[in-house]
Every structure is written in C-alpha cells, then in structure tokens.
C-alpha cells in the first residue's frame, strides 16, 4: 500500500518500565504488521532534553509517524495494539 514504508520515531526518557515496554511493543507490532517496510528510531530525551522542546514532546513515551505523511502521534506504552494500528493508519478506524 505504501512504497516508501514507515519512518517511526519513539521518544523515551531513560530506561523506565514504560519506555522499555513501549520499545518492545513497537518492535512486535512492526514485525507483525509492517515487516520489511519500517524503520524505527529511538530517541532518549534524558540524553538530549533540548529535543523535547524542538519536537514538541510532553508525554512519554511518544511515537511519531514521520512517514508517510501526515505526521501522526501516539502517546503511551503502545500496549493497546488496536489503537496503535488505528493510530498508524495500518488498520482503518
């Protein structure tokens, strides 16, 4: 459906349980639904807090779908798979 694939960025803050859960959940969902056509970048705001302002992050974890357009934001540890799929437009609402 999409040629360029998914460019996803996950913002976390250190190794908190929520961050670890989010990373694991994201990887699992992508493998299941977007195998081969996704790229994940994980940004630790603890290491680079200036990015929080620049990228308008308030909630942790935040997942941003940069590609395909339009930009989508999902907050939370991504434990609700249905909402993640809807939020990423992988599954129609």
């Amino acid at each position: 459906m999409l040629e360029e694939g998914y460019s996803l960025r996950l913002y976390v803050a250190g190794q908190t349980p929520k961050s670890i859960a989010a990373i694991a959940n994201l990887k699992r969902i992508c493998e299941q639904h977007l195998a081969g056509k996704y790229r994940i970048e994980i940004v630790d705001l603890m290491a680079n807090p200036a990015l929080a302002q620049r990228h308008q992050i308030i909630a942790i974890p935040t997942l941003i779908r940069q590609l395909p357009e339009p930009v989508k934001r999902i907050i939370g540890d991504l434990s609700n798979v249905e909402k993640v799929l809807v939020g990423l437009d992988i599954r129609p609402n």
Binding site: A21, P49, I57, I60
Partner: protein, 591 residues
C-alpha cells in the same frame, strides 16, 4: 535541674523566634507586594485564576519580567496557549522587550503545542517530556521563577485525566523540589476557582482575577483567596493594565491615620487667603468648591494649581470635562499661564472622560498618577462628573478612599463639584461634604437683571475663617474678591451694589453740604457777634471818655471859682458882697 529547665525554655523561645516566616518573592507589581506583604511564597507554586481576558498572562509575565530585570532572578515561561512569537508581540504592549531578555539568557520561553486531533493514546504514559522541557529551560537560564500558562490546555489535549491529575500533582511537587517560585494560571470555573480544580494541587497561594462589567464599564479586580503561612489583604482590589504595566491598588486598606499638618498652602487668591486667616488652606487638607455652572469653580481650582506650581511644587490636574488645552486657553483669560508650568513639568494634566472606565479604575489611575508624579497638590475638576460612572454611594466610597490616600501622602487636594440645584443639596447627595476640611460655596445670584458671583467659606476646619459673603470678580489679573458691602439695606452685589454705593455717596454729599453750611453759618454768627462786641466796646470807651471829660471840666470849674474868689479883696462889707456874689456866681455857672 532548674538551670536545665531555664535553658530549655530559652532554647524553646529561641526556636520559636527562629521559626521561619514564609519567605517572599517580590513580584515588583505595585500594590500586589503590599497586599501579599512582600510577594509570592518563595520556592512554591501560586495559582493565578480568572476567566478569559482578565489579565492572567500579563500579570504572570510581569512577574517574570520584573524578576529578570529588577531582582536578578531569571525566569521560564511555559506557554500552552500562545506561540512564543505571539507572546513576545503581545507583551510588547506593556513595553516589555522579551527578545532582549532571551538574548541575555535571563528568560526562556517555551510554547507547548498540544493538538488533540493529532494525538492518539495507546496505553500508559506520563508527562516526563514536559518535566524534561521544563527542567531543560530552567537549567538553560538558571531560572528562579517559572510560569505555566495556562495549564488547563492539558485537560483538553489529553484524554486520560487520571494520569494527568497524578502527573500534575507530581509536577507541583517537582517545582517545589526545584525551589522555583512558580505561577500556574488556570481558567475560572463555574462556581469553582478553576475549571479543573487546580486549587487542589496548589494549596499555598491562590490569587483570583476578575473583570466585571457594571453599567457597561469594566473594572478589573484582584483578590488574594488564600496565602498559607502569611497574613494578607483580603479585599478585592482594583487593578489596571495599560501601557505602563500593571498596578494593583491596595486602597481599601487606607485608614484614618494620616498626619495633620499645620503648614499652610495658599489658595492662589490673595483675597481668599485673607478670608482664611490670611494664610490659605491647610497643607494636606481637602477643599471642596461647589457651585452652579459658570460660578467660577474651575478658575478657583486653576488659581490653586498655579500657586502650587509657583511655589516650585508639583500638581496634578484631573480634568473630567475639559481638555488640557482648553483649560490652559481659558485660564489665560484670567491672567493665569498654566502652560509654562506644564512645560516645566510642574503641572500635569490627566484628562479622562468619566465614562472611560469604572470608578475603581479611575481611582486606581489617579493613585498611580499621583504616585508617579509625586505631586503635592491635586485638583479634581469636577468630582461630580464621576456620578456618571457610578452610583452616588459608590462615588462616596471612592472619594473616601481617594481622600484617605491623598491625606496619607500629605497632598493638598481641591475638588470641584457641580451642583445644579442649590450647591448644598447636590453635594450632600454624594455625601462627600463631610469628608472635606474646607468647603467654599460659589453662588451665581440673579438680581436686577444680572447674575453676580459670590463666594462664601461655608466651613474651614481648624481655622477662624471669615463669615462674609464676598463678591467674586473674574478679572484679567485673576480672581478678586471685593470688600464685603454691607449697607443699611443688607449686602448687595453687581450694579445693585454700584447703585447702592452711588446712593450712599449722594447721601453723604448732601450731609457734607449740610455740615459745611452749618459751619459757614457759625462762622458768620461768630463774625457778627464779634462785630457787635466791637461796637459795644467802642460805645463803652466813648462813654468813659465823656464821663472823664465831664469830671475834668467840673474840676476845672471848681478851680476857676477858687481863683476868682481869691482875686476879690475881702472888706468888712465884703462878707455881704461875698454872699451876694456867691449867690450871683452859680447863676453864671449854670449858664
């Protein structure tokens, strides 16, 4: 044992004395620091709530701006509603150059953008991102002050309020741990202080802003709802926001503790000073001039302003009905050049239409003007114009507070009051006459087809003032009061006075003529009598001469007779001859 107890008790007392009062962080906002007795609680968050448009953002920004500029306390402003560029522009209206402060690393702005339509929630989250941003901003400038404006936006942006509330609780705790003095703004709720119950989290200090409309005039008010650990003013205080910033007026706290000076201030009218013990008003007193239209109230007021400025002191003229230019022009006609005092910055006109804003705001603006200009004299012309901005009772209350404020500062104040009926009644309507120390009444009385001005000192506390009604003349050399004319038919003014004076003069002339006539007659009689005396004297002298001559001739006769007798020789018969001759001789003499 006793010693130990004693030591313990002194220790306890020392500890009691050392109990730290809540440390204050000055806002630098005139008035607010007075109400809070020093400022906001240092190192703690303060909730600033109010409905839209009541000045939350500007007040919060002023807190940061003053901190950065005046108290060397850098600040962080987290904006949830306005973009930073917009914010910089918006507060430019208060002459705050935020960009400069940002460049100097004294201020950090961060716009938190939340678009609910873009955000999906999938699972558990926290607001660590916000904490990180805030922490980063605080560290970047070494902030001591933080503003979060308006945090309610989070409630519309995030669906999971359970998480949000626990995170807010954590946020306020975190702010306290950071030791920053924070202002958190919140929207006013319906029947609650804030729509989302933020007061639940911020318990230390809550300030409520309000912008009420009464009779189409809005008045901003501020109230300190609570201030844990500190005494504070509890009333609603009016405040104003304009180009010069925010000023809160702690005026309701004014009391009756002002000093009473025995110094005098000239009224600017020599004749009026003469009626007031020759010295004029008391310094720091309140003078009311009431009269009908055209009775010369403004002119008396302008003389006062002129005299204050001429003594080198400053005076503010609050003009409610005329523009400054118009007043200056009009006063030139009576020989007063107010323009030169304006040029020398001794006189300041503050012209505002009474219905420009509500009474409270008028009062607040007057406070600020008097304070900023540090004036010694104030003219309010006319106070009755404020009736259109409020009810009589409100005007009374306002005047009361204004009077208290001015007296506390030792400012001599002159109010004019326009009365349409009799001056007394309309002044009592506002019930301000009792607040005044000196009350001058100006009449404009009709008689003989003309109106004549009269001035009367109805009261003047603490001095022996004249009780006369004096005729009041506006001349090109200013106001002159004519000597009271009290004739046999009472006092009179104008042409009646002239006529009366002429009549007096003619009567006097007649009397003088009569007197001179009488004195002339007396002179004449004196002359007449002295002439008579002279004539009688002459007659007397004549009589004396005649009688002397008669005596002399008698003596001569006697001598002659003797001589004749001696010439005859005596004979014996001579005796008879002698008898005969003696008989014959007297006959001869008798001839």
């Amino acid at each position: 044992m006793c010693v130990v107890l004693f030591m313990n008790s002194t220790k306890a007392r020392a500890a009691a004395l050392a109990i730290p009062a809540v440390e204050k962080c000055p806002t630098g906002i005139a008035g607010l620091d007075e109400i809070t007795l020093g400022g906001l609680p240092k190192g703690r968050p303060t909730l600033l709530c109010g409905s839209a448009g009541c000045g939350k953002t500007l007040l919060a920004m002023t807190f940061l701006y003053n901190g950065a500029v005046n108290y060397d306390e850098p600040g962080v402003f987290i904006a949830f509603e306005e973009r930073t560029e917009e914010l910089i522009k918006n507060v430019g209206s208060l002459n705050y150059d935020l960009q400069k402060l940002i460049d100097q690393k004294k201020l950090a702005l961060d716009y938190v953008h939340i678009d609910p339509s873009q955000i999906a929630e999938a699972g558990d989250y926290d607001l660590e991102g916000l904490f990180l941003r805030l922490g980063f901003a605080i560290d970047s400038v070494g902030a001591k002050r933080v503003v979060l404006d308006t945090i309610d936006v989070l409630f519309s942006g995030l669906k999971n309020h359970l998480i949000l509330r626990s995170e807010l609780r954590r946020l306020f705790g975190w702010l306290k741990d950071k030791g920053v003095t924070a202002i958190v703004t919140g929207e006013r709720g319906d029947g609650t202080l804030t729509r989302h119950g933020l007061e639940e989290y911020v318990a230390d200090c809550v300030i409520l802003l309000d912008n009420r409309i009464e009779d189409q005039l809005s008045t901003r008010r501020l109230r300190l709802v609570k201030y844990r650990g500190s005494a504070h003013g509890t009333n609603e205080y009016p405040f104003i926001i304009d180009h010069a910033g925010i000023v809160v007026m702690p005026i309701t706290s004014a009391g009756l503790a002002h000093d009473a000076s025995s110094e005098r201030v000239s009224s600017g009218i020599a004749d009026l000073d003469a009626m007031l013990e020759g010295k004029g008003y008391f310094k720091g007193s309140c003078v009311l001039i009431s009269g009908m239209p055209g009775s010369g109230k403004s002119t008396v007021a302008a003389h006062f302003a002129n005299s204050i400025c001429a003594s080198g002191a400053r005076c503010i003229y609050f003009a409610m009905e005329e523009s400054p230019q118009q007043i200056i022009r009009n006063m030139r006609a009576v020989g007063l050049d107010l323009g030169k005092w304006v040029d020398r910055k001794l006189l300041k006109f503050s012209a505002r239409r009474p219905n420009l804003y509500g009474l409270e705001t008028h009062l607040a603006a007057m406070h600020r003007d008097v304070g900023d200009f540090d004036s010694h004299g104030v003219v309010v012309d006319p106070i009755s114009a404020l009736m259109s901005a409020g009810f009589a009772g409100d005007v009374h209350a306002m005047t009361l507070r204004l009077v208290d404020f001015l007296k506390t500062r030792g400012v001599t104040t002159l109010f004019t009051n326009l009365g349409l009926g009799s001056a007394e009644t309309s002044t009592t309507q506002m019930r301000i006459s009792s607040l005044m120390d000196t009350w001058l009444l100006l009449y404009n009385r009709e008689s003989n087809g003309e109106h004549n001005r009269q001035l009367y000192v109805l009261k003047s506390r603490g001095m022996a003032h004249s009780n006369q009604i004096r005729e009041f003349l506006l001349s090109s050399e200013g106001i002159k009061l004519r000597e009271a004319y009290i004739g046999p038919e009472g006092g009179s003014t104008g042409s009646a006075r002239l006529a009366q004076e002429a009549k007096e003069k003619s009567v006097q002339r007649l009397r003088q003529q009569e007197i001179s006539r009488r004195s002339r007659e007396a002179d004449r009689r004196r002359l007449e009598i002295s002439t008579q005396i002279a004539a009688l004297q002459a007659q007397l002298e004549e009589d004396e001469i005649l009688s002397r001559q008669a005596i002399e001739s008698e003596d001569q006769l006697a001598a002659d007779r003797l001589a004749m007798a001696s010439t005859r020789q005596p004979t014996p018969s001579a005796k008879s001859t002698a008898k005969l001759s003696s008989k014959g001789k007297p006959r001869l003499v008798q001839k």
